[in-house]
């Protein structure tokens, strides 16, 4: 078990004092799960709100500002509405898969969250294959999308699902390769190790040119992997209506919707961890106060999230063949070249370390 608790050390000790070790372990797991679920249900909702407000500011509007102070409760109200809505569906849908699909999507996106180092102590699982785990998990979500699109017995949904399959499989490569480029620097897949390496300077500084290239590719491919504009062919409102979730309503739709936003958070969080030193403060200005790490982590992540929102509200959508051309003709060759470039840099010892 790769549990690492310090800030919650007291709870951990108390639990193990109270009951036998096996039971305590299970109880502890459940506690972690509940805490993470709660935090990220709320975080997902506020990401939705953030997106709506940011979109409004890009578009000369005000955005939701009615429910609560400055609309802070707007998405809560939306969630309540979605919970109370009737779950409609197509009659000829493959019921089992149709109902299963949303859980695939939401569960995988929640799973990925568990490995992030929010601060030095606040990390649920610090597994030694962290990066690998993240890339593996984040691509499972596409199964949910494929299932949802295929089983809802709707042609628009089917087209959306097929596009999603094509897109995620292609862009998975770029995400993996650009992370691999950085792993060359850290020499470890474990997230806590990756952060530890960055105490000598964030990886984007350490790796300079190839790191910046890797970051740009990572952001492009990451946006594509979360199916967000300009790569939102899966939903492509003006082409496919609502795409793969055309036939979903109520809470099932909300799962897809929340998962999209949590996925966006995940991509931004990976970017933060790998390129921008996770919870490390710039130049170590707040090293003496460890709990501020959470603030730095979230701050950097939200900046990247904002960048993705900026993409979304500026760019038109690609066509499906252009999407693939971008990946196979541009991103992948550059990425492979970049990998060699980075390896060369490390071999020659040209990285910047403070």
């Amino acid at each position: 078990m790769f549990l690492k608790f310090s800030i919650t050390k007291t709870i951990h000790d108390w639990l193990f004092e109270l009951m036998p070790a096996g039971v305590a372990g299970v109880v502890e797991m459940i506690l972690i799960a509940v805490v993470y679920l709660l935090i990220f249900a709320v975080a997902g909702l506020y990401l939705v709100l953030l997106e709506r407000r940011v979109a409004a500011w890009f578009q000369l509007r005000l955005g939701p500002n009615r429910v609560g102070y400055q609309g802070l409760l707007q998405t809560m109200a939306d969630a309540l509405k979605l919970v109370s809505k009737e779950l409609t569906g197509t009659e000829k849908a493959d019921k089992f898969l149709y109902n299963l699909a949303p859980y695939f999507v939401i569960v995988t996106s929640l799973m990925a969250l568990s490995v992030f180092p929010f601060s030095e102590e606040f990390q649920a699982f610090d597994i030694n294959i962290g990066i690998f785990f993240l890339t593996a998990i984040s691509s499972i979500g596409v199964i949910g999308i494929l299932l949802g699109g295929w089983s809802s017995n709707n042609k628009f949904a089917l087209i959306g699902a097929m596009r999603s399959g094509v897109q995620t499989i292609s862009y998975e490569l770029s995400v993996g390769l650009s992370l691999l480029t950085m792993v060359l620097l850290t020499e470890s897949l474990q997230l806590s190790e990756i952060v530890a390496v960055q105490k000598n300077g964030w990886l984007i500084v350490q790796g300079h040119i190839p790191a910046v290239i890797a970051f740009v590719i990572f952001m492009i491919a990451g946006t594509a992997e979360t199916n967000r504009a300009p790569f939102d062919l899966v939903e492509a409102e003006s082409e496919l209506g609502a795409g793969f979730h055309t036939e979903y309503s109520g809470m099932k739709f909300a799962y897809f919707f929340l998962a999209e936003f949590i996925n966006m958070f995940i991509i931004a969080a990976i970017g933060t961890t790998v390129f921008f030193g996770a919870w490390l403060s710039p130049f170590g200005i707040t090293d003496s106060i460890p709990w501020l790490g959470v603030f730095w982590f979230l701050g950097k992540t939200l900046l990247l999230v904002f960048l993705m929102m900026w993409f979304r509200w500026t760019f038109p959508r690609l066509r499906v063949d252009q999407l693939l051309r971008l990946e196979w003709k541009y991103l992948l060759p550059i990425n492979l070249f970049n990998l060699v470039f980075m390896a060369g840099l490390i071999w020659l010892g040209l990285t910047i370390k403070f």
């Binding site: 500011w57 509007r61 900026w310 500026t314 760019f315």
Partner: protein, 158 residues
């Protein structure tokens, strides 16, 4: 080499676009073009020529200027105006004269074309800048324009 320059050119166009939206984002505070409608009701003022609905102005003596000539009814393309009239005796001259009983206006059928107001020889009906025309029952959209007990102003001839 064109491969590389192509990429840089492409990225450059994308950044140009992001600069435009980013600029709007930074000036979002004062740049909002939308209105918070029910809140700004007090300050919201329509232009004077705004076509909201047809009304018949009455003066303080409860007198209007409609002689019941029915030109508006004829001009209306979709039958939104109905005039119910009879012949009454003019008090001043003692002659028989056309008099409106009810000037009925179906707001629900009106397309705001303004032909009735163009056609009116005595300017008895005018546009009102009232735009909040929604009601719960469609029958409420049928309005009687002349107030009860009103009569035509003296000396109005068509």
């Amino acid at each position: 080499m064109s491969y590389v320059s192509e990429i840089f050119k492409g990225l450059n166009t994308l950044l140009t676009g992001m600069k435009v939206t980013g600029n709007y984002f930074l000036h979002a505070r004062k740049g909002a073009i939308t209105q918070q409608y029910p809140d700004n009701r007090d300050t919201l003022k329509m232009f004077e020529r705004f076509r909201g609905e047809v009304v018949m102005p009455h003066d303080e003596n409860n007198e209007h200027q409609c002689t019941g000539c029915q030109k508006c009814e004829l001009a209306c393309p979709n039958g939104s105006i109905e005039i119910i009239w009879d012949r009454g005796i003019d008090e001043a001259t003692g002659k028989k004269k056309k008099k409106i009983d009810r000037h009925i206006y179906h707001l629900g059928m009106c397309t705001m074309c303004g032909l009735c107001i163009e056609a009116c020889p005595t300017d008895a009906i005018v546009w009102a800048p009232n735009f909040e025309n929604s009601v719960f029952d469609r029958t409420q959209l049928t309005k009687v324009l002349n107030q009860p007990g009103s009569k035509v102003k003296a000396g109005i001839e068509d």
